[in-house]
């Protein structure tokens, strides 16, 4: 540093003040972003920990003695435990199936050339856009005919309509990033295409596969419409259980919010785990 004792010019002083002001606004802006993203979630979690009197207080209570009683009531009296288990069964089966079916397809899309490949790719993409209600209407009739209403299997099949495409999209991208030379070397050594896929590409693509599995799980876990239409009592998933409180005058807000927290908390953890690729997952790989 050259320490020339020159008087600071008016201009530089003003620029520094402007920078300081900008930093203050920047700080305030970030605080607003943070608080507004977190507040509704925070309010749900705190309400689930408040006694009914605190939850219904006006003006709202900010400090209170937390209680876990709403959680035990919701889990065991309102049978949310069973619905969480159903959600877990359905979402993990749909995820597992979509990985099993989707990774070979993604590999083929990334590695092989054939006519109609682009059309096939676009068909996979367009599944992202279809409104669930479009499929729910005919699927209800099929499920009624096959006596599949209120079973896990019907939900698992329906959830494949969105979990399979997302696995294909994310994994195709992942397989493309694996050098083709590895495949060629293995082929020269006499390995079969399946072996090249299973032993070389699949392990190398694992990071992308895990990310796509998390997305498939989150989307399956979050569905309400299909489960609402196709389950009655035995197979109800947790979002359906969360909506089932909505009757009577005095709603058990603590229990409702405890159920909400139990549903959302695992998803927040999963989403944080893939936060770097959230945009890629939600735009189907178009924007990274």
């Amino acid at each position: 540093m050259s320490s020339i004792d020159m008087p600071v010019t008016q201009r530089a002083k003003r620029a520094r003040a402007a920078r300081k002001r900008a930093t203050v606004w920047h700080f305030l802006g970030l605080v607003v972003v943070f608080l507004s993203s977190v507040f509704p979630f925070y309010w749900m979690v705190t309400t689930s920990l408040k006694s009914q009197a605190d939850a219904l207080a006006m003006p709202p209570v900010w400090f209170f003695t937390p209680t876990l009683s709403h959680y035990t009531d919701a889990l065991f009296e309102h049978n949310v435990a069973q619905s969480l288990l159903n959600s877990l069964i359905v979402a993990s089966s749909a995820t597992f199936l979509s990985i099993m079916l989707g990774t070979p397809a993604a590999y083929a899309l990334a590695r092989f050339e054939f006519r109609g490949k682009e059309d096939l790719w676009f068909w996979f993409i367009s599944n992202r856009m279809v409104s669930p209600v479009v499929l729910a209407v005919p699927f209800f009739l099929i499920a009624t005919k096959l006596d599949l209403v209120d079973t896990h299997i019907v939900l698992i099949l329906l959830y494949l309509t969105f979990s399979l495409p997302i696995v294909v999209w994310i994994c195709t991208d992942q397989f493309r990033n694996i050098p083709v030379e590895l495949d060629e070397a293995a082929r020269l050594d006499g390995a079969s295409p399946w072996r090249i896929f299973w032993r070389i590409n699949l392990p190398l693509a694992m990071p992308g596969i895990v990310v796509s599995a998390i997305f498939a799980f989150i989307f399956s876990w979050n569905d309400l419409l299909y489960a609402l239409v196709l389950t009655r009592s035995d197979a109800i998933t947790s979002p359906v259980a969360a909506t089932s409180y909505m009757s009577g005058y005095e709603l058990p807000w603590g229990e409702i919010m405890a159920t909400g927290t139990l549903i959302v908390l695992p998803m927040v953890v999963f989403a944080l785990a893939v936060s770097g690729r959230l945009v890629q997952g939600l735009t189907m790989g178009a924007v990274k």
Binding site: H26, L30, V31, V33, F34, S37, P40, F41, M44, A55, M58, P60, L97, G102, P104, A105, F114, R115, K117, D119, W121, I125, S126, N127, R128, M129, S131, P132, V133, L135, V137, P138, F139, F140, L158, T161, V168, D173, P193, F197, I218, N222, L224, L225, V229, P239, A242, T243, W253, M257, G260, I263, V264, M267, V268, F270, A271, L282, T283, V287
Partner: protein, 309 residues
């Protein structure tokens, strides 16, 4: 994504399914996924198409399911409540999406600045929470926040002197409440996409621009705008498709009410199919919705994937 290399190459051979020779490994890799999606995705749509040309009332199956031609379509297209639901969905889109994009851009610009790294990291992580919240639970939180007696919304508006409102019982306010929850959930999505665009701007160009002018609006318009456009296109089309799908949060928050004030298109079709039990009519409406969706996804592929390629 779709590179020119994806297009056909090599001579034409007979007996191809989707252009794949059955013996080629690609065929065997693809067929399980294609078969699964065909059975669960295409077959029900064909069934819906078939039902849409028939009378199919679950409450009145005694009179059978006769072929009635395009009557369901005519009834749908002349039904003011169908157009009402579609119009509400369009209105919701036109009001909500610009707000989400504007707030998202604001958040993205804040997150893109170099100062305050810890604060930026915290704000960025916090954006994940709304996106990860189960849609049905978003609706439940909305009911809690906009409750007439103890909702925190009334408390906050009370601080600035506005008397308490019965948010979910008033048609306009119910619409606004659903909007606010949608903005809460989806602004982070816009912010992260736009942030990805901002980070594509070459560092040197941005530093040079900052020396030129202290005005962020100038930099945004002249330097960053082209980098934001692909993401903006993706947001426009995906959010439009999402609003045609919007069901869970609205259903738990208002059930489409009061009256039909928040009955958006998917909520409406669900009511026709599963509350009024008119499967034929609901199928016709679902087919119309599907056509709208196909148009949107064609646009998405055309504009977004072509640009990404």
């Amino acid at each position: 994504m779709a590179s020119p290399a994806m297009r056909a190459r090599g001579p034409r051979k007979p007996a191809r399914y989707f252009g794949i020779v059955p013996r080629s490994p690609a065929f065997w890799f693809l067929i399980p996924a294609i078969a699964a999606l065909a059975v669960i995705g295409i077959y029900p749509l064909l069934l819906a198409l078939y039902n849409s040309f028939h009378q199919y009332k679950l409450a009145d199956l005694g009179s059978g399911t006769p072929f009635i031609g395009v009557d369901n379509y005519i009834a749908t297209l002349t039904d003011p409540s169908f157009w009402g639901a579609l119009g509400r969905t369009a209105l919701f889109l036109c009001v909500t999406l610009p707000i989400e994009i504007a707030l998202g851009l604001f958040a993205a610009l804040l997150l893109h600045r170099t100062e305050l790294p810890w604060m930026r990291a915290a704000a960025r992580v916090s954006l994940v929470i709304p996106m990860a919240t189960t849609y049905a639970v978003v609706g439940l939180i909305g009911r809690l926040i906009f409750n007439r007696q103890f909702g925190v919304a009334n408390y906050l508006t009370g601080l600035v002197g506005i008397p308490p409102q019965d948010w979910l019982a008033d048609p306009t306010l119910a619409f606004v409440s659903v909007m606010i929850m949608d903005i809460w959930q989806w602004t982070p999505f816009c912010a992260l996409i736009l942030l990805a665009g901002l980070s594509m701007v070459p560092k040197e160009a941005e530093e040079a621009a900052r020396l030129e002018t202290p005005k962020w609006s100038m930099i945004l318009w002249h330097l960053q705008r082209p980098y934001l456009l692909p993401g903006l296109t993706a947001i426009l089309i995906l959010r439009s498709a999402d609003m045609l799908k919007m069901f869970d949060a609205v259903f738990t928050m208002t059930r489409g009410g009061p009256g039909a004030a928040t009955e958006f298109i998917s909520v409406y079709i669900q009511r026709v199919g599963f509350r009024l039990f008119d499967q034929g009519m609901a199928s016709a409406q679902a087919i119309i919705l599907l056509i709208l969706t196909i148009v949107l996804s064609r646009l998405y592929i055309r504009f977004v994937y072509r640009e990404a390629a």
